[in-house]
Amino acid sequence: MYSYIAKRLLVAIPTLLIISVFVFSLQKLLPGDPVLAMAGEERDPQVIEYLREKYRLNDPVPIQYAHWLGSALQGDLGISLRTNLPVLTLVGQKLPVTIQLAIMSMIFAFAIGIPMGILAAVKKNTALDYIANVVALSGLSIPNFWLGIMLILLVSVNLGWLPASGYRPFFEDPLNSIKTMLMPAFVLGNALAATLMRHTRSAMLSVLSADYIRTARAKGLSERKVVLEHSFRNAVLPIVTLSALLFGELLAGAVLTEQIFTIPGFGKLIVDAVFTRDYAVVQGVVLCTAIGFILMNLIADVLYVVLNPRMRANL
């Protein structure tokens, strides 16, 4: 087991290196010169030269990369050109906000998607199955921004039930923090719930027709036990892997959702950084996101093995 985790961690290293090269070169390929942006209207050649020296922009690109990577490994992701704050500090401020949004969205997605998927599979080809599928399809096709705006209009403006914005940190004011996050989390979790429902349904359908489910029924188990224990415990395996992939989708969706609900999270950080050509921040955010994604997949892989005795045996 530990050797398996160690193996997966080792595999993550080259993946991260490739990502770091990609992240680094991406910003080199972007149009626009940050130095010109900082130098202001006068564009004094001396100032420009000073800035180039300061940020090592005169070094050959591979050396710039090596230097950047070396610092990054020590936790130094550089200084934000715009705010003059260390990138790590910025990331540290915004990350908990997005993590809270992600966790709440996932809870929504699981709470809606999985029971609906199980029900649709058990009641295959009945009205209930069709309704679940239509709901899922709408969840997938309605764009986040539209749903977000409509919710704000209905729930905040007309009904006044929930605030439309005004994020409060969770550890300072948990109740209001959750209140402000409810709508964004629903908007973000909604599409994931649809994907989860479809996959749960198909995983359950294939398990329900398995020989061992017939065995479970033949020994006289109740239908509830057959579905929830014997079937679902097997169907959950592909869903674990899927959830890790959905996490990536969640981060992409967070960018837009945080804009709509003006949540000061990761998504807003990256959008602001891109518009102001704040390269160090872009690099830092993309790198952190990639690490998060790899970590989620690692957890999914380990969980898959923990839940699957056959895999455990092969370790």
Binding site: S3, Y212, R217, A218, K219, G220, L221, R233, P309, R310
Partner: protein
């Protein structure tokens, strides 16, 4: 097998005791495209206490549907069960679902064909067996555990207590079927329904499981409803037999009567198609199966064919010291920790017009041998000479060229045809691909080949799903013939087919051999079929050939202990042998997994005469 002390068992079919199961006018229909289509029609029979009744029939005969109808295990929305099923005096079909759950596992329990897939892979076997106890009775967890271990001991699983926490994948197929039986016995059912319980097992394991069922039936005084397609198994186990054909029970009687005085033409056709071990004594060459018209009962006896083997020339295929191993890797850096010695120093010759059978049980290396020769897997060492060419040293383009001379037919006719290609295109493809003919010529040849394998040329435009299993295997044979090969490797090619279809396809292969002088490497686990079709036989065990020689000599005078064990395990379709127990030990098939650096001992052989060679046992 009858227990003289128990009065119920001494008179199994006595009318004095009420039947455990009484089925009358059972009709089961499936909803297919909006129409209720009956798949079982007006089936009636009884099972007395302690009696074993077999339902025998081929695929599609409705035998499994009958058993699932009794247990009401068919999907509710797409099936309809009519008639009356009395189990222990209760009308099963009128019970509400909640009460039916108490009947299942309690009054009647069931075991299934596929032990590999019939157990839930993520729960321990201990949990799965004790569940059968706890869901029916008021029993504590600790009691259930103790009872489960007792059940595991009862089905003769070695070290039962230590295996409680094991998962299904840690058991072999035969052991899993024992676990299934333990689960079925949990609530001491009056009736055990066994749906093809030994079909997926190796023949020596099948013998063990049949013994176990007989033994437990005595100990527990249960009735058994045994569903099978295998007449040999029927003869060994059943007091009475019901023959099913196209959804109807066409003949019912004592097993002796069915075998010796079967009236229905289909019964006779079925019995004549059954390969019987020992039926070839006195015949020198392979012999076609007799054919019986299932409608009229007219029987056509096979005519002896002349010798097709041309031994004067060089062998068409010569294999020397072929060795194929698969590495087993593990750990952080995937170090090699051992190897499966799948094929170990195998040598044989195959002549034009000859059938050499490779016979053995799962994991003996027979299929890997076939694949190594065609280089579908890369052998580690050895020499394969096909028609004067050294196969193992060929480059990519020469390999393609070589494969024209050697073609394969696989086991599963459903999986080995591309569902999106018409069968005409499937057969013509290799001709065009190898640049032998233009598309029009290829189509002409495909049409000829279809006729040759007993199908019609106008079927060319149809897709595989429009054909039955037997027809599909004929299509696979036509495809293999498309390149005019000299050698055909038939890997379990008739194993998945029904008895009567099996006989027909074997007959076809023998006819083709006669007309085209084909050489067959016939890979099979079925001793009775092998005896019928082959000129020479090689018995494989743990990757090695332990005995090879002319079929008459190997079957008539088996020398190696494994050959004898294999032959003794084959069920013989003769009801006079009913009740015999083989007293096979509950051992498992050995595996050819060896540690790194293992050097196999040099085998020594002795010559029994006329090319019959046996490995000397240590």
């Amino acid at each position: 097998m009858k227990n003289p002390i128990d009065p119920l068992l001494s008179k199994p079919a006595s009318a004095a005791s009420a039947p455990v199961l009484s089925v009358s006018d059972l009709t089961t229909s499936f909803l297919i495209d909006g129409i209720w289509k009956p798949v079982v029609r007006n089936v009636s029979f009884e099972v007395a206490p302690g009696e074993t009744v077999a339902i025998v029939g081929e695929s599609g005969s409705g035998k499994s549907v009958t058993s699932l109808s009794i247990m009401r295990l068919l999907a509710k929305r797409s099936s309809r069960i009519e008639g009356c099923v009395m189990l222990n005096g209760r009308d099963v079909l009128s019970l509400p679902e909640k009460e039916m759950q108490q009947v299942r596992g309690n009054d009647a329990a069931m075991i299934f064909q596929e032990p590999m897939t019939s157990l839930n892979p993520i729960f321990t076997i201990g949990r799965q067996i004790s569940e059968a106890l706890t869901c029916h009775g008021d029993i504590s967890k600790i009691e259930a555990r103790a009872e489960t271990i007792r059940l595991l001991e009862k089905v003769r699983i070695p070290n039962a207590a230590s295996r409680f926490e094991d998962y299904p994948h840690q058991f072999s197929g035969g052991m899993r079927q024992r676990v299934m039986i333990a689960m079925a016995l949990a609530s001491k059912p009056k009736l055990l329904i066994a749906d093809e319980p030994t079909t997926a097992l190796d023949v020596t394991i099948q013998g063990q499981i049949l013994d176990l069922i007989k033994l437990l039936q005595e100990e527990e005084a249960m009735s058994v409803l045994f569903i099978t397609h295998d007449m040999g198994v029927v003869a060994e186990i059943a007091d009475r037999t019901i023959v099913m054909f196209k959804g109807e029970a066409i003949e019912t009687g004592t097993t002796e009567d069915i075998f010796h005085k079967g009236k229905h033409p289909y019964t006779r056709a079925l019995l004549s198609a059954v390969p019987r071990l020992g039926s070839m004594t006195g015949h020198k060459w392979p012999l076609r199966f007799p054919t019986v018209d299932a409608a009229t009962g007219a029987r056509i006896e096979p005519i002896e064919v002349a010798d097709t083997v041309d031994r004067r020339t060089q062998p068409i295929l010569k294999v020397e010291n072929l060795t194929t191993r698969f590495d087993i890797r593990d750990g952080l850096f995937s170090r090699k920790i051992g190897a499966v010695h799948a094929v170990e120093s195998v040598s044989f010759e195959l002549f034009q017009g000859e059938t050499l059978a490779l016979v053995g049980e799962s994991g003996c290396g027979k299929s890997t041998t076939g694949r190594s020769i065609t280089r579908l897997v890369e052998p580690n060492a050895g020499k394969v000479d096909l028609d004067g060419r050294n196969v193992l040293s060929l480059g990519t383009s020469e390999l393609r060229e070589m494969r024209r001379g050697i073609q394969m037919i696989f086991q599963d006719p459903f999986a080995s045809l591309n569902p999106r290609m018409t069968i005409g295109a499937t057969i013509a493809e290799p001709i065009v691909e190898h640049g032998i003919g233009k598309p029009t010529q290829a189509r002409q040849k495909a049409a000829d080949l279809l006729e040759r394998v007993g199908l019609n040329a106008d079927m060319m435009t149809r897709y595989p799903h429009e054909f039955s299993g037997g027809q599909r295997q004929r299509i696979c044979i036509a495809r293999a013939l498309a390149l005019d090969p000299k050698v055909i490797v038939a890997d379990e090619s008739v194993s998945a087919l029904d008895v009567s279809i099996k006989a027909q396809v074997c007959n076809l292969l023998m006819d083709l051999q006669q007309s085209l002088q084909l050489a067959f490497l016939f890979i099979s686990h079925d001793m009775a079929v092998v005896e019928r079709v082959s000129h020479r036989v090689a018995v494989m065990y743990l990757g090695e050939i332990v005995e090879i020689g002319p079929r008459e000599s190997v079957f008539g005078n088996p020398q190696h202990s494994y050959t004898r064990k294999l032959m003794a395990a084959v069920p013989v379709p003769d009801p006079a042998r009913r009740g015999i127990k083989r007293n096979l030990k509950a051992d498992e098939l050995k595996s050819p997994v060896r540690p790194v650096g293992y050097v196999p001992p040099t085998p020594n052989y002795r010559n029994v005469g006329s090319g019959h060679i046996v490995r000397i046992e240590a």
